[in-house]
């Protein structure tokens, strides 16, 4: 079945403005950058965290520490899934204990990835606060998890796929909704 683009949610310009807004919200909510750190969830949460850090540096003149989190080993579907995700390295080069952590991902959907990420961070230490920033919240939560910072809320059906494309990973910046078409 072919995958067809149904709608374009964001272009490069809109994505840039959205990330800038989230960066401002992070600084405002945390009353500055003291003790703040960003952790991106692999894959696309990582470049998003880097872009947020870049924006916060422009706003506050402070380079925030950035960590990379691979949640594969914390997934709850390994025992039941026939799929076997590739494990990549987690690299959080700072102690998380006592830090205000902003967890960054591209799409918030069922909440299971975020649940796994919370477990992974807590295994590294005891942060003071963990907040969540996502570019797109598409709904259909299966766990009591919500984002503190949302780029765009996009109501979707489960049949649809939200694809976030980033320059760093895909060569272009855009967010689209796709769907399998029964042709």
């Amino acid at each position: 079945m072919p995958l067809v683009e149904k709608a374009r949610i964001m272009d490069a310009e809109k994505m840039r403005r959205t990330i800038t807004r989230i960066a401002h919200e992070i600084v405002e909510k945390n009353k500055g950058t003291s003790n703040l750190a960003l952790i991106g969830i692999r894959r696309r949460g990582v470049p998003l965290a880097e872009r947020l850090a870049e924006n916060i540096k422009k706003i506050e003149g402070v380079q925030l520490p950035i960590g990379i989190l691979d949640i594969t080993l914390y997934r709850d579907d390994l025992a039941t899934s026939a799929h076997q995700p590739v494990v990549h390295q987690t690299n959080v080069p700072f102690p998380v204990t006592g830090k205000r952590i902003v967890l960054v991902d591209d799409v918030l959907y069922t909440g299971r990835t975020v649940r796994a990420a919370l477990d992974a961070i807590i295994d590294l230490g005891r942060p003071a606060v963990i907040q969540l920033a996502v570019l797109v919240d598409r709904g259909h939560r299966e766990l009591p998890i919500r984002a503190d910072y949302v780029g765009k809320n996009v109501p979707t059906s489960r049949r649809e796929i939200v694809s976030v494309l980033l320059k760093e990973t895909d060569g272009q910046d855009k967010v689209i909704i796709e769907e399998f078409r029964d042709d």
């Binding site: 894959r43 696309r44 691979d70 080993l73 914390y74 997934r75 390994l78 025992a79 899934s81 026939a82 799929h83 076997q84 995700p85 590739v86 494990v87 990549h88 390295q89 987690t90 991902d105 591209d106 799409v107 959907y109 069922t110 299971r112 990835t113 477990d119 295994d123 590294l124 230490g125 598409r138 796929i161 939200v162 694809s163 976030v164």
Partner: protein, 321 residues
């Protein structure tokens, strides 16, 4: 994150019986997966919930400290339960066959059986008997794949690659399952393998495995990146394969003078346990070029990777987002 995934080539095998049948890509996948596993071992909390509710049975028909403990810790770090069966106190002494033992273990719900056996081919027989996963932890003179994988991981970690490196394996090649697995693995990964040892401890026609054979250890060590000494077992002396320990040490032992033939940054390796002063002198075994202790650490990481890959499902996928 949503459920759409793109398929990429990955681990497809039920068992790990040896390196002879693996492709270079499969070996690479194991080594790559072991990298994040080693990171877990460095954490304050050395445990991830990945294999919660899975069970690993270590069935060792031969004595072992490091391999058995390594598998046990690998399982525990991934939150799997592990059980060790000591053959001397099991029903094997009552005459229970390997197949019966395996079926009994499987009937109790084991997901993986790790087997070490003095008979070559025992892991294959086991794999054909049971539906659960089987890992060969050493069978006779045949293969010891996880040891070779941890050796390759150690070399790759230190040298950044395997392709094009010169590796000298010195000692009792004839009886060494470690040597065989390393030959299969290293040659597949593009390394040049040289073997050195007494003619009585060299398998006939071993050159057919794509290696170079030397009977003078100094020649074999000339310009190599890695020197791997093998353990000499006491039985070999009784068999009359060489006259005395002292003579073996004098002609084939890795000492500081011989090591100078290798590259200045050559790694010194040994699968352990080391007969100090026989196959390797203490100053070399504990010297700056030695990575013998790191091999032990890496053994746990590689076995964690294998347990994950074997129990992780049938195909590899990566989430699209």
């Amino acid at each position: 994150m949503h459920l759409e995934r793109k398929q990429i080539a990955g681990w497809q095998r039920k068992d790990l019986l040896g390196l002879r049948d693996l492709t270079a890509e499969e070996i690479e996948l194991i080594l790559d997966t072991a990298v994040p596993m080693k990171d877990i071992m460095r954490r304050e909390i050395k445990k991830v919930p990945t294999l919660r509710g899975r069970s690993v049975v270590n069935l060792f028909y031969e004595p072992s400290t490091r391999t058995r403990m390594s598998f046990e810790l690998a399982a525990k770090y991934l939150s799997a339960d592990s059980v060790n069966i000591s053959v001397s106190t099991s029903s094997v002494v009552k005459g229970e066959s390997l197949k019966d033992t395996a079926r009994t273990i499987e009937a109790m719900g084991a997901d993986v059986i790790v087997i070490r056996h003095s008979a070559a081919g025992a892991p294959k027989l086991l794999a054909q008997t049971v539906d659960c996963h089987v890992i060969n932890a050493g069978d006779g003179f045949h293969e010891h794949p996880t040891q070779a994988l941890l050796d390759m991981f150690t070399i790759r970690e230190k040298k950044g690659r395997l392709k094009g490196l010169k590796v000298a394996i010195v000692g009792d090649i004839y009886h060494s399952r470690v040597a065989r697995s390393n030959i299969w693995g290293l040659t597949k990964m593009g390394a040049e393998v040289r073997l050195a040892g007494p003619v009585t401890l060299m398998p006939p026609e071993v050159e057919k495995m794509g290696v170079k054979v030397f009977y003078q250890v100094e020649e074999a060590l000339e310009g190599v990146d890695v020197v791997m000494a093998l353990r000499i077992q006491r039985e070999r002396l009784k068999e009359g394969r060489f006259p005395t320990w002292r003579e073996y040490a004098r002609l084939y032992g890795i000492n500081a003078r011989r090591l100078q033939k290798a590259k200045p940054d050559a790694l010194v390796m040994h699968p352990g346990p080391v007969n100090q002063g026989i196959e390797i002198t203490p100053d070399v075994a504990e010297g700056t070029q030695s990575v013998i202790q790191e091999q032990v650490t890496n053994g746990v990481a590689v076995r964690m990777a294998l347990l994950y890959l074997l129990m992780g499902g049938g195909t590899t996928s990566e989430a699209v987002n």
